[in-house]
């Protein structure tokens, strides 16, 4: 019998508020692609950080190639041959991609050589990375690609990938899987962390399921169904979404040939974006991040007010120069991608955070009625089942999923006529994601126009009536969700949509 590459026994880790890992054991064979499945907050990330030496376990033993080891820091982990791609990136904003990679390497290699190697690896695995760009200018997706390249440069024996596919096109996911299979054939073990059941079933040889910090199952994913995996993961099957017939209303939002030069030298310029959103429908915007979605969102929310006159209309009224607040007064609400620091102020309480977008409790003279603010927060917490310490809990004390439910709830509760959301379920656990999606469908049925930007194609197909794709600052024509496939949208994500037909209507 072959020796195990990695064996964990009885790993426990206590955090101030939760026990992230509770007696977790894990056995990885050489060349095995081993899935670690679980909801957000199930303890996957903590377990991986323990293996990578970034977090020290309170209890338990780690064996590497049969020998007990104490991995005290990531440097030791890398020396052993463990590489990791984090879900939350550990890159220095002010340095370029190449310099960031260089930091983790032996300093005898020159930066020019590293840059060269990055280009080679990026080429080999189809990861589009410009090594000379500073990280602060990269989108989330691009940053992850830098991380993947960095991990591969070290020629690891064990590669840990934490939710790697969330920012890739389906074609790129296929390519990544080819790469991973190649690595596995070469004897490199892979720990693949995900909550995407389909991916795990296609890719992985073995699967360890975590729930609430404990192992709830060890299975061969190829022998399982989505439903059985899901039961192991969340203890129940995800609730079915009710999808009713769309009743289209008037045109709520019209974007007409919006062209907007980039503000940041590494941003994306918007080129002739046109779209029409009607009341009572959900329009999904697919695309790899960094292709102009953030810029379009800023232009639609009013955070970027440079749009040319007449390019954005709300119920037939030109709003291109209006700020966020006047747009909200006309019924356009927006949920941004970043929860902490943009959608909510981390240090302020949930109650105070209602005041960002809700003014019911502010009198005309600018006086804040505190009790009403608190009452509104209490209502939101109750109505949207937010697990929080109450209306006075600081926003940052909530888990990602709960804070997102609260922010989405805050905007949904304002009875918007148009709701625009960016990555509504990014990093949100399955239960909360389902709640949010159900909420969006309900809003649509009530006649609200909903625009969703997401990198999760499954999500877009699940809730959207129509889909458009953004690539390189341009927008594809729209297509009804039931008339298209993941493959077609994936192709469009590379910018390959039929151009002639696209001019008429989006």
């Amino acid at each position: 019998m072959t020796e195990l590459r990695l064996e964990l026994t009885g790993i426990s880790k206590q955090y101030p508020a939760v026990k992230a890992n509770d007696g977790v054991s894990l056995r990885v064979k050489p060349g095995q692609i081993h899935a670690v499945l679980g909801e957000n907050g199930a303890g996957k990330s903590t377990l991986m950080k323990i293996i990578y030496g970034a977090v020290r376990p309170d209890e338990g033993e780690i064996r590497w190639n049969g020998k007990p080891v104490k991995i005290r820091n990531p440097h030791e982990a890398r020396a052993l041959g463990i590489s990791m791609v984090f879900q939350h990136f550990s890159l220095f904003d002010t340095l370029t991609a190449a310099e960031n990679v260089w930091l983790g390497l032996d300093k005898s290699i020159s930066l020019a050589k590293v840059t060269q190697r990055i280009r080679e690896v990026a080429q080999e695995f189809g990861l589009d990375v410009d090594p000379l760009r500073p990280v602060h200018s990269l989108s989330v997706g691009e940053r992850q690609r830098v991380e993947i390249v960095r991990a591969l440069l070290a020629k690891p024996q064990l590669l840990i990938l934490d939710e790697p596919t969330s920012v890739l096109t389906p074609q790129a996911v296929d390519k990544l899987f080819i790469t991973l299979n190649k690595l596995s054939d070469q004897g490199c073990s892979i720990l693949y962390i995900s909550h995407k059941l389909d991916e795990i079933r296609t890719l992985c040889h073995h699967c360890t399921v975590l729930r609430g910090g404990k192992v709830t199952g060890e299975v061969d994913p190829t022998q399982e169904t989505n439903a059985s995996l899901s039961r192991l993961m969340i203890g129940a099957e995800p609730p079915e979404l009710k999808h009713r017939e769309a009743h289209l209303g008037e045109v709520a939002l019209a974007v007409k040939g919006l062209t907007l030069p980039k503000q940041d030298p590494y941003g994306t310029s918007l080129a002739g974006i046109s779209l029409e959103l009607r009341a009572g429908e959900i329009l999904g915007i697919a695309g790899v991040s960094g292709n102009g979605q953030n810029e379009l969102m800023a232009a639609l929310s009013g955070e970027d007010r440079r749009s040319p006159k007449g390019s954005i209309e709300l119920f037939g009224r030109d709003i291109s120069h209006d700020g966020p607040d006047p747009r909200r007064k006309q019924g356009l609400h927006f949920v941004p991608e970043e929860r902490l620091g943009r959608g909510a102020v981390p240090m302020l309480s949930l109650a105070q955070n209602t005041l960002l977008t809700r003014h019911e409790s502010v009198s005309r003279t600018g006086w804040i009625h505190k009790s009403e603010v608190v009452k509104l927060a209490e209502n939101l917490i109750q109505r949207f089942h937010v697990a929080a310490g109450g209306p006075h809990a600081a926003a940052r004390s909530l888990s990602g999923g709960n804070l997102q439910k609260y922010i989405v709830g805050r905007e949904v509760d304002a009875a918007p006529r148009i709701l625009i959301l960016s990555q509504p379920t990014w990093g949100v656990d399955v239960g909360a994601a389902a709640t949010i999606r159900a909420e969006l469908l309900e809003l649509r049925d009530a006649g609200c126009a909903v625009l969703v930007v997401s990198e999760e194609l499954d999500e877009l197909f699940e809730i959207s009536d129509r889909l458009v794709v953004m690539a390189q600052g341009q927008m594809s024509p729209s297509i009804p969700a039931h008339e298209t496939t993941v493959e077609q949208i994936g192709e469009w994500m590379s910018g390959l949509w039929p151009r002639e037909a696209g001019h008429v209507q989006a």
Binding site: P16, E61, P324, L356, G366, W367, A394
Partner: protein
């Protein structure tokens, strides 16, 4: 071994206790310094914490120092909460004094007591002009407000010097660089005869109430603070960062200028080049020790003026260097920053230190 770990939520208890603990540590270190200097620590502490509170006269003197600190620090708290780093309050204070002096010098035989209101108003405007410059340069050219406000302190001092050495010099003043002594009608009214405490105390109390209301009960105040805590959230909400910049700087300029006018038309009675004693800089410490909270600043300004008066007493009665005042101020800020760590963090026992090499089992 202990481990420092983040608290899930900032500790309320610690945010109140931290200044008190910091004060205790400052006193302890102070005792050490007294001993080291060969002075009786009890006597030393008495100079700082008992003598300045011993009599009505002493308390009146305490308010003379505390009022300018309090007013300036209140304005700075608004700035710092908005993430605008105005460290040039000293300059705004000087310009307020200059403007107040100009008004005071216009007084003639027929002038009534109403001129006091004009002096104070002039002082506030003078400070606002100086801080408005900072706001303008930041707004228009994105000039760094820390550098600009600081450098304007020195410009302000030079301007004041020019006036008292030149056009404003008292012709009958034996060539001393000072203005005429202001007419008594311009004198800031005192609270009681025989004591130097003046209506500045009442103005300061009003200012505390006004700024508390502004910061915690008005939407404007909320918007300012969101801009300071999370600029992206302020943009998302649609709060104007320009409005925040101008409001915060004009408020703090007005407060510092008001303090300058109160000083020059109050205890000083004339404008001299020695007006600047560092209130504008000490107020930065006052603002932070007071948690950038109007009520907290009341206590910290009183404490800071204890240090000022105590330093003078220690110098004259014990022969200690006057620098003791600055040492105490510095110590307090230093220990406060240390103690503040415990608001957001806590210690946790994590078992024995892991020094033994590669032991396979460990609880």
């Amino acid at each position: 071994m202990f481990k420092l770990e983040a608290r899930p939520q900032p500790s309320r208890v610690m945010s109140y206790a931290s200044p008190l603990i910091a004060l205790a540590i400052t006193i302890l270190i102070g005792v050490g310094i007294f001993l080291w200097l060969g002075k009786d620590p009890i006597k030393g502490l008495e100079m700082f914490f008992v003598e300045p509170l011993k009599s009505a006269q002493a308390i009146s003197e305490l308010t003379v120092k505390a009022v300018p600190l309090l007013l300036i620090a209140l304005g700075l708290a608004v700035c710092f909460r908005s993430n605008i780093w105005n460290i040039g309050a000293e300059g705004q204070y000087l310009l307020g004094a200059v403007a107040g002096s100009w008004v005071a010098m216009q007084a003639g035989p027929g002038t009534g007591r109403w001129i006091v209101a004009l002096i104070l108003l002039g002082g506030a405007l003078g400070g606002m002009v100086w801080s408005g410059l900072v706001a303008f340069l930041k707004d228009r050219f994105n000039a760094n407000e820390i550098l600009v406000s600081l450098m304007l302190v020195y410009v302000g001092q030079q301007f004041l010097d020019y006036l008292v050495f030149g056009p404003w010099k008292d012709p009958n003043g034996y060539n001393f660089p000072q203005t005429i002594t202001f007419l008594s009608v311009t004198k800031i009214p005192r609270l009681m005869d025989g004591y130097r405490a003046n209506i500045g105390v009442l103005i300061a109390i009003l200012a505390v109430a006004a700024l508390w209301t502004f910061l915690f009960r008005t939407y404007r105040g909320f918007q300012l603070q969101v801009g300071g805590l999370a600029p992206a959230a302020a943009r998302y909400a649609g709060f104007s960062s320009r409005v925040a910049l101008w409001t915060a700087l004009l408020v703090s300029g007005a407060m510092a200028g008001l303090a300058g006018a109160l000083e020059v038309a109050g205890p000083m009675g004339q404008l001299t080049p020695y007006l600047s004693v560092g209130y504008g800089f000490a107020a930065i410490i006052v603002a932070f020790v007071g948690r950038l909270h109007p009520v907290g600043i009341v206590f910290s300004s009183l404490l800071m003026s204890l240090f000022y008066i105590g330093g003078e007493l220690a110098q004259s009665r014990l022969g200690l260097p006057k620098a003791m005042t600055s040492v105490f101020q510095g110590l307090l800020l230093f220990t406060l920053l240390g103690c503040d760590t415990w608001i957001h963090n806590r210690l946790r026992w994590i078992g024995k230190p892991r020094t033994a090499p590669r032991r396979s089992e460990e609880a």
